[in-house]
Amino acid sequence: MKITLFIPCFIDACFPKAGAGAVEILERLGHTIEYPRELTCCGQPAFNSGYWEESRTTALQVMQRLKDAEVVVIVSGSCGAMIKNFYPELFAGTEHEEAARSLSAKVWEFSDFLVTKLGVTDLGAQFPHRVTFHDGCHGLRELGIKQQPRKLLAHVRGLELVEMGEAESCCGFGGTFSAKFPMISTAMGENKYGSALETGAEYIVSNDSSCLMHIQGLLDRQGKPLRTIHLAEVLNHRQA
């Protein structure tokens, strides 16, 4: 299958290993990867800040570039939800509504794509660590992804998944919310990593780098012995 990979801006800049992990995993499964270098951002920051007009400028470019793609895979539940759920809303009542809907139908979040579309759960990965999983809100509640990453993690050799009490609680990132209301965002993040620490895990794994960026930022500042890692990196991890 020819898979078009959408690499969100912050993954491109700060978390390239998540994107690279997805590329290598999908290629090992025999698929061809297309990476549209023209694309950068999905337009969510402007959308969530109320600037829908500016968001449409960015989104339109994404839609035009991806209109001929067979399937589009995104290594972020949040950007995935933006394209899949919110583009149709963003373009409702405009001439692009139909295009937004047809793109929506072929967009997949990475873990959902592997498990639901490809029917793959064992990627031959090895990651001998105790981990806990953070459900990013957009992946969980907008896209309904809960079991897919867990099914994938269940087949990783050496990996022990310990669920935290607050797995489904928001980490407090929320895009521009984290800068507009940093005190609330930080308190939410503290509750989140506090719950993760209780599990004794070495890593917080998630299918959303944006949440992990926030949590890692807090962990680094507060010197906590816990690391964050994207699901695609874990799944791409082979024997050293």
């Binding site: 270098r37 402007a46 930022g217």
Partner: protein, 464 residues
Amino acid sequence: MTPNAAQFKKNAITLTKDLRHRALIRTALKKYEVVRDDKVARFQNWQSARQTAAEIKWDAVNHLDTHLTEFAKNLESRGTHVHWASNAEQAREIILGIVKQHNAHSIIKSKVMTGEEIHLNAALEKAGFDVVESDLGEYIVQLRHEAPYHFVFPAMHLTRGEISDLFTKELGTAPTDSPEELTMIARRVLRDKYITADIGISGANFGIAETGMVSITENEGNARLTCALPKVHITLMGIEKVLPKLEDLALFLPMLATAGAGQVLTGYNTMYGGPRQPGECDGPEEFHVVLLDNKRTALLADPEQRDALHCIRCGTCLNVCPIYKNIGGHSYGATYQGPIGSVITPHLRGLQQWKHLSFASSLCGACTQTCPVKINLHHHLLQSRRNAIAQKPVWWEKPLFQGLALLFSHAGLFSLGMKLGRIGQVFHPLIKNTPLDPARAWTRSRELPKVAPQTFREWWQTRK
């Protein structure tokens, strides 16, 4: 920044720093979640119950005119006086008029959030009347001269010790750590008030159009005493509280109890159909129902967010909200706290004055997921942001997002941006978390992510 927004931020800073408060609320709401989940599981199918409830409410709200007229007609047929109040001022005048007409001295109230909304107590007290709240939580916050902290659990922010201290100070009772004893203290004071009160004021959980009845659900029996003992009873209710049929309560009463407090059914469920009828030996001699609009019809006129009128005030969206759990109920500065408050307050009190509440959300969607009547709460916050910005963009944000749109449309520029970021981050520690730091909102409490030595697109390039 509006004064409301500035106050909200100030409150949020204070409350998020208060670790004792955060722990107290989290513990209380953890217990709530356990009992709620237990009761949700007793529904044959909670999800289809939610769907049915949403459909009934959809009908109720989308045909509000018909249902309200039927409700009023049926109430009047048994001698109830029905009043229509367009706004808070009118509602206060109607109620003050009734109270003055009866030369009343003392007034007893059961829980009525619409009363908070129209600042009824202040108006009654200003006019010289003695007003006492009979709901235990409301009574406690009244003694503290505070607004309810939560529209279902008004005093959930207080410990037993704090309540005991309050009673000692205000009522002169001996300190106690026993919840039963604290309840008995309040009960002893309140029993006298019921007997001497001239007027009872209540809210309404539902109004039944078909039968012209006011449904009140409560756990303490205080609403029954408030509604039954004084000679005159006034119910103040929002117009959106009307349900078409009596049988609708078969779903809504257990649903409200489950979502609101994790109960199968609330302790006392009563329906009030009118004043004392000929041949009856008890009940008020006069019954007034004041129907409050106060901008609800403006919300009704918004097809996108109209479903916010479905709300049955169970408070479950507050209970699951990570924002509420960290800043508490008083920080909002609004009558209705939490997600539903953040959705409806801009409609009820002005979008520009209250838009900050729609921005003070990570849009996590826990509220929408739990709402028993399926209000699309977090999407409404998003829509309110869009509406607020369309009316009045922030002067520096507009060009910022225009600039970002330009940057994101040109991958070359974006690549250059990442390269510059890589250089910038070498020098960033010099200004990190100082007033010069453009990322200070982030770096006050968090480390910034670093631009990777090799970005994804650079990595991709090397593979080809």
